[in-house]
């Protein structure tokens, strides 16, 4: 009977060890980024994170940047449909170009390829560029931005991604 209890404990403990290891990596990794909460929350929301290495976590983050960028483009589309002030309209169009041509067509694919193939400095470049583009778009509104939360989101995620990627160098 005693040995059964012992074996039971071994089984239970072993199972907890496996789970602890992956949760550990997420926390350890996120501690080294400028936004721990956002990092943990984002990574935990994706099932891949539970068995990913650091490069894998970076890819999860880059995918989230992509998703947020697509959402931003949709929002820009919606806003353009509401017949905004001409100046806002021009800036919205400019932002759409940044998100479409730069972030989605260039930064994200470049970063993903770099992470996949093990050449992380180009992924760092891609993530930094995405942050710069999002900031650039926000600044172009000179304080009257209708998409601040979207830009901030892309920018913050990109900075977290960049910090994670830095760990690979």
């Amino acid at each position: 009977m005693r040995s059964s209890v012992f074996l039971l404990c071994v089984v239970g403990l072993s199972l907890t060890q496996i789970q602890f290891s992956s949760a550990d990596l997420v926390k350890q990794t996120c501690r080294q980024t400028p936004n721990y909460d956002l990092c943990v929350q984002t990574l935990r929301s994706d099932p891949r994170s539970s068995h990913a290495d650091v490069a894998g976590l970076a890819m999860v983050m880059v995918d989230m940047i992509k998703a947020k960028s697509i959402a931003t483009l949709h929002r820009i589309s919606e806003l353009l449909g509401t017949a905004p002030h001409p100046k806002t309209k021009a800036t919205l169009r400019r932002c759409a170009e940044l998100y479409d041509n730069a972030v989605l067509k260039a930064d994200i694919p470049s970063a993903m390829e770099a992470l996949k193939t093990g050449n992380p400095k180009f992924a760092e470049q891609g993530a930094n560029d995405a942050a710069n583009e999002a900031d650039s778009c926000e600044r172009a509104f000179s304080g009257a931005s209708p998409i601040t939360s979207f830009n901030r989101s892309v920018s913050d995620l990109s900075r977290v991604a960049s910090a994670i990627i830095r760990l690979l160098l």
Partner: protein, 664 residues
Amino acid sequence: MADPNPARTFADPEDPIIAATVPDHYTPLLDGDPPAGENSRRPLKGFLVILSGLVLVGLLMALIGENGPSVSQDSQQNDLTLNAPAESTNISAQFLEPASRGPSAGVSEKSFRLHSGVRAPFPWSNTMLTWQRTGYHFQPEKNWMNDPNGPMFYGGWYHFFYQYNPDAAVWGNIVWGHAVSKDLIEWLHLPLAMVADQWYDTNGVWTGSATLLSDGQVIMLYTGATNESVQVQNLAYPADLSDPLLVDWVKYPGNPVLVPPPGIDDRDFRDPTTAWYWPDGKWRIAIGSKVNKTGISLVYNTEDFKKYELIEGVLHAVPGTGMWECVDLYPVSLKEDNGLDTSFNGPGVKHVLKASLDDDKNDYYAIGTYSLESGNWTPDNSNLDVGIGLRYDYGKFYASKTFYDQNKQRRILWGWIGETDGESADIKKGWASVQSIPRTVVFDKKTGTNILQWPVAEIKSLRKSSKKFDKLEVGPGSVVTLEVEKATQMDITAEFEIDKEALKRIGESDVEYSCGTSGGSAQRGELGPFGLLLLADEGRCEQTPVYFYVAKGTDGQLKTFFCTDESRSSLANDVDKRIFGSTVPVIKGEKLSMRILVDHSIIESFAQGGRTCITSRVYPTKAIYGAAQLYVFNNATSASITASIQTWAMKSAYIRPYSSHQES
């Protein structure tokens, strides 16, 4: 202005006060997730034995499987210190800006050039962007380029290959571009040499090097990223050795010839070197890698370039330097001025070992001895070891590679010069990156501790109208216009003498000067800064000073610094604006001399015959085309300087696609 995000709960890292006090997030290791998997069934002993056995095996496999790049508290510390390179920062003397948030927020110092959100991004016009394209530096017609590959002289032509993205102005889909030249200056673009058409390079045809065998064979070794993203080394050779242009290439059917050895990560194994012949009758190559944070160079030997043997130990390793990319090892003569074949070794020779550090995107070299007995390379000075000592170039210069030019018996260096502007501008202009003008490399006999780099002599063929400004007296705090024909494409040599009285008078400084942390050309000292203002408009709203700054250090010795100041190079805010540079040794009796190649958005500067070099990318918005001017300046507080300057306007180089109608 209302706070657009009053609900932000995390500290604003752009506020320097907060950034300094935000604690590192530290959570104790065992918290959070509740233990899982309580077995609630009535225990059966035998079943449990089997189950626990399986679970333990599974646990073991999971722990082994998670041995990816390890993340430790130690590496975090190292990352933060490596994130703050000594010689460059975004501080601008002119604008009161918060210090860049880089290292304190765990972010690379290099990354964020946009400062706190007050100014709108710059509206680049097509005119401005078109101007940025160089007149005489190698670049493909469009899209992205990075590392130089396989440079060599064959069949009467200089061959140059390069990492290229045929689809976009950012890195990705990498294949090998190819061009040929008779003089390293005028180039003919050829078809792509190699594309990603095999399983062993489908994810990237990456960097490699050429070895020329005495029987006329050409061996090309390169890194392929396989379909499973493993980095392997592959062999390729020309399809037709009788074609001097070497247009077509064949990949060895038995590829890959090398895969990552045990203990080396699948993603830390790339950039094979040119081979050198060893006394045992075999060839040797080096491949850079890392173990944790120690940068290393592996060595292999081979007889046929198809089968390899890993040589025990490493060629060299330096802790804390991270991944070594684009390793290069070559001999330099201590006595002669010519270059040496890569296989050369013996008395009167030292070996330069070089690595590109992934961590800080700079190229470092060290001079040492490569023993034919032990097969080890040892630095002359371990304080100046690879990755912690001298750099080829103190500006933007990476992934460089040398080759032995048997045509003129020179050792020649190529370096990748990336963009430092905003990436959306690169996409708009449709291209990114140039190569440095090829440089000869020789041992610096006067110092014994440096190499000298100098633009190849063939560059002089582009010189046209020359102007001389002899013994110009430039008093403290003055600027003198130099009337030249075309300030955007120039070759300039300049010599400076500081007035001797001022040199005697100079007091000691209690603070050590450093280009990167200084106020650039605006920070006045007794004996500097003085030099040239390049790409400056008439009102000097935009200007790129390249200057000397002489000071007496805390040890009472005179020290000379050579810097390039980008802080006012452009009115645009979405470009890097750093101040780069380093000390430059000045031998007694030497005048202070500089040579500068100005070519639109690239400036290559060489001090004391190439003892210290700085390459800079600049993107002026006003000081372009005819509005760009040249000045000599002296911003010292007490010393006068005498400057002798010679300038040449430079023709553009013929760099075009090859067509069969052309003569060779």
